[in-house]
Symmetry: C2
């Protein structure tokens, strides 16, 4: 049988593979017809060398070429949207409408366009000039390929070949080697086809974007630590992420990870008294959005024991039971979720509803709710923070208000933390205590809002303290911040003026680029 080609060194070519795999249609549990290769180390090395050489060529291009590439790529994705959406729907079981076609695909296109704009604007590179000493600095590309590992849950917006990490790495001026998520190889292949065409038509080196489907475990670690690789971006499971982290860091490679997160949501008593049923509805729709397969899915809700809480929980149970059961992304998510149930039970959580397979033809599990007392949670916070990735949530029932701070303090690093409080000041004192504790544990703090929406704006932080992410100072979503992950700080000390990068010369290159000159931000010339 034919094996899909890989995109290496600017060409779609037969893989020098060491095995093959097939993707699975989660709605039918059947293997899809196409076989995809597991790349050999020989092939991976070829891609790394090609990516490194292409990065050198990009350094000599006008930045406009990179911006045009990103825009052409966005247009090309839009033109093939029906085909891309159809492929992703078959491979992920995510609904074509509205999710894939009307939400995720437009967001992906938008991200590429924002990245193009940032390339033209150049302010992301933070040009900094001190005229008295004639020292000037800015961020520049790392100068080698960035390896991007995409997750299973966003086949477009976080796809290794079209998502936020790819857009940021390219905007900085790097090349990308995308490691497709094995859950949606056909989707990734179509996107990669358009990436190659867009590269060629924009005048980017053909090897600017490369794509392979899979490596074996040991080769994955060798790849991220290879001498010519400049950085790594990884979104996925904690265990694989931590192994790659260790390998990359030992070799001195920056690696940006987005690992698991339970995204606690605190419901303070005043809010529950005021509008418990409405909060239950809001909570449940966030919990079950995308069958619970969001990085920012609220995996743990915290509430204080009492009649209001009883009513809230009862409402959540009703809604969980009434809501349709979605199909999970695939067998790994399905097995992982059932495994998480066993784990949570072993650590003292009680099953409230669901907890069982709901398979007829597809990978489905009943919408599942666990609960545990505040005492139980505090006694075993690590065990109970196991991410149950999918349509499952754990409620922590605190014995009283005074227990909430200790519960908050028991969380490890998370992407988000939300606090719902009374609309007037009834919860204010308690709120302050919780905010102070939670602030240090999460990348994004929310009020009266569920964490599942991630706006693509400069102020966004899609990141957080370890182990939610690998470094607490960087975001994976939001430009300019996300671009800086893939850039090197380059200082020019007494460099003759004509040898400076155009961004650092006296005249403001674009007329609108923001620069920090002698301590003040300005768009002026020197």
């Amino acid at each position: 049988m034919d094996v899909a080609p890989v995109l290496v060194n600017g060409k779609w070519q037969k893989s020098e593979s060491m095995g093959t795999f097939r993707a699975i249609n989660p709605a039918t549990q059947e293997s899809l017809p196409v076989s995809y290769p597991v790349s050999s180390w020989y092939e991976i090395k070829k891609a790394i060398t090609a990516g490194f050489n292409a990065a050198e060529k990009i350094a000599a291009l006008q930045k406009e070429t990179i911006a045009e590439f990103l825009e052409n790529y966005a247009l090309r994705i839009e033109k093939r949207e029906d085909e891309i959406v159809a492929a992703a729907h078959i491979e992920t079981a995510l609904p074509s409408l509205p999710r894939l076609k009307e939400i995720e695909l437009p967001r992906t296109i938008n991200q590429l366009q924002i990245a193009a704009k940032a390339v033209r604007d150049r302010s992301w590179s933070r040009p900094t000039i001190d005229t008295a000493t004639n020292i000037r600095s800015m961020y520049e590309p790392l100068g080698g390929p960035v390896i991007v590992f995409g997750p299973n849950n966003f086949p477009f917006a976080f796809n290794s070949v079209s998502g936020g990490d790819m857009a940021a790495a390219v905007a900085a001026g790097n090349t990308v080697i995308a490691k497709a998520n094995t859950g949606h190889p056909a989707t990734t292949r179509i996107l990669a086809e358009e990436a190659l065409k867009a590269s060629l038509e924009s005048g980017m080196p053909a090897a600017s974007i490369q794509m392979i489907y899979r490596t074996d475990h040991a080769d994955g670690k060798k790849m991220v630590s290879h001498r010519l690789v400049s950085a790594v971006a990884y979104t996925g499971s904690r265990s694989a992420g931590l192994e790659l982290k260790e390998a990359a860091e030992k070799a001195g490679k920056p690696i940006y990870l987005e690992l698991s997160s339970v995204n606690p949501v605190f419901f303070l008593p005043g809010a529950v008294a005021e509008k418990g049923p409405a909060l239950a509805e809001e909570f449940v729709s966030s919990c079950l959005l995308g069958v619970g397969q969001f990085c920012t899915n609220p995996g743990i809700g915290v509430i204080v024991k009492g009649t209001d809480a009883d009513n809230f929980v009862q409402k959540v149970v009703e809604l969980f039971e009434a809501a349709p059961v979605g199909t999970l992304l695939g067998p790994k998510v399905y097995e992982g979720l059932l495994g998480a149930f066993v784990h949570l039970k072993a650590h003292g959580a009680s099953l409230v509803t669901g907890g069982k397979s709901a398979c007829s033809s597809g990978y489905c599990i009943k919408n599942t709710l666990f609960s545990v007392s505040g005492d139980g949670f505090i006694a075993d916070p690590v065990g109970l923070q196991k991410e149950a990735f999918g349509n499952a949530t754990l409620l922590v029932i605190a014995k009283n208000e005074s227990q909430l701070p200790e519960i908050a303090a028991s969380f490890e690093g998370n992407l988000t933390g939300s606090i719902y409080s009374h609309t007037e000041d009834r919860d204010e004192r308690l709120y302050k205590v919780i905010q102070t504790i939670l602030r240090k544990k999460v990348g994004r703090l929310l009020n009266d809002k569920m964490p599942t929406g991630v706006e693509v704006v400069p102020s966004m932080n899609h990141g957080g303290p370890f182990p939610a992410a690998g470094h607490p100072g960087f975001t994976a979503v939001g430009i300019p911040g996300s671009i800086l992950r893939f850039a090197q700080l380059c200082c020019y000390d007494n460099i003759r003026h004509h040898r400076l990068p155009p961004e650092l010369q006296d005249k403001n290159l674009t007329g609108s680029m923001w620069r920090l000159i002698d301590g003040a931000y300005t768009q002026e010339d020197i």
Copy 2:
């Protein structure tokens, strides 16, 4: 015999030690009278807990308190300058005048004052606001103690208790646990005394700044990976640094390292023809500055074979031989330097002058020059980039101009790279090629200037690609950049206005703080 106390939990106290050590006067090779403790794990844990608790207290203080602390500390250092300079001179053999008293101490005081200014100004925290989505973000303290390991070569400006890392970590709002360099414990002790007094008089928690002298190897690794530690800054030898890096990163702790660097200086043929003797003088004074014990010391010079080069080398030799021989920082540097000579010889370098001990009473080695052909360097670039920390330099003699790019490409990550070229455009073509290659390998690129001066300005980059530093995007010198290493990106999504940090509220808190609002930098209110 009495053992010096440690500064733990806001008090000078008898150490619960597991051994002692004494510092050495490098000018006499004699042990100094005072014994210093090797802290036990029990004591280290006590310091970590106290540092964590103090960080929580700092979060509730006005930022003004931190600024006042830094300024009071600077003033207190100035008041005891004679005593501090005398202690450092005995422990390091660095000249009291001008180096310690007139250069390094004022720089240290200046750094603390700049940090205080940054605390008041608040622009370092990069407040970013998007009004349409009401998402706001900024950098905030990490929320735990930062462990600082200071190097041997700058007893004030990089001292773990008074140097740039300490100032940056405190400016961000963290606490510091300083691990004194064992070469200058008495100096560090005096500085720590003033740090404690300044903390108390400014209203900072007593445990804001703690200081221990030494740990055993295993405890050092446990310390940097402790749950309550928030980050680590390390300047020192590569081998110890890499071990701490591995331990810290495995635990998910950001660690910023400044490791060894050979700081290549390229002399292009036109420059050597034009002013060879003057360049030789400039080169030699940079090579021997501080007995060659600068992080940015030019450890390797590169020149093209020929008559001009012969004259240049001869002049360098003459100047090396004529220059007085300085005393090295101590026995470790002395032995390390002699060891580096053996290493360089084994890798094919030829001794041109020096290479031997020059001890009478102190730790001295003759000013030493090695040379190697371009072919030899390219054949074994890793072996020949061994840092010879001290008054020793390696000259690489390229066989012709065309060999320079390959030599440049053989360098690993460095803090700096310098290129001297003809004042007119005679070297321009060659220059461009070298700049392109070297740019990716160094944090700071220089023209017609030696790398040993490190200006404390926002545009400075004292960092570089691995292994010169641990991350290519951060600088250890220059505010605001250096502060960001010790901060966490904190996003506020839909947070009620009165609950926002003052920096993110609509009104510009200081009236002059720079904020990125809807994509434009401004000092205005919203």
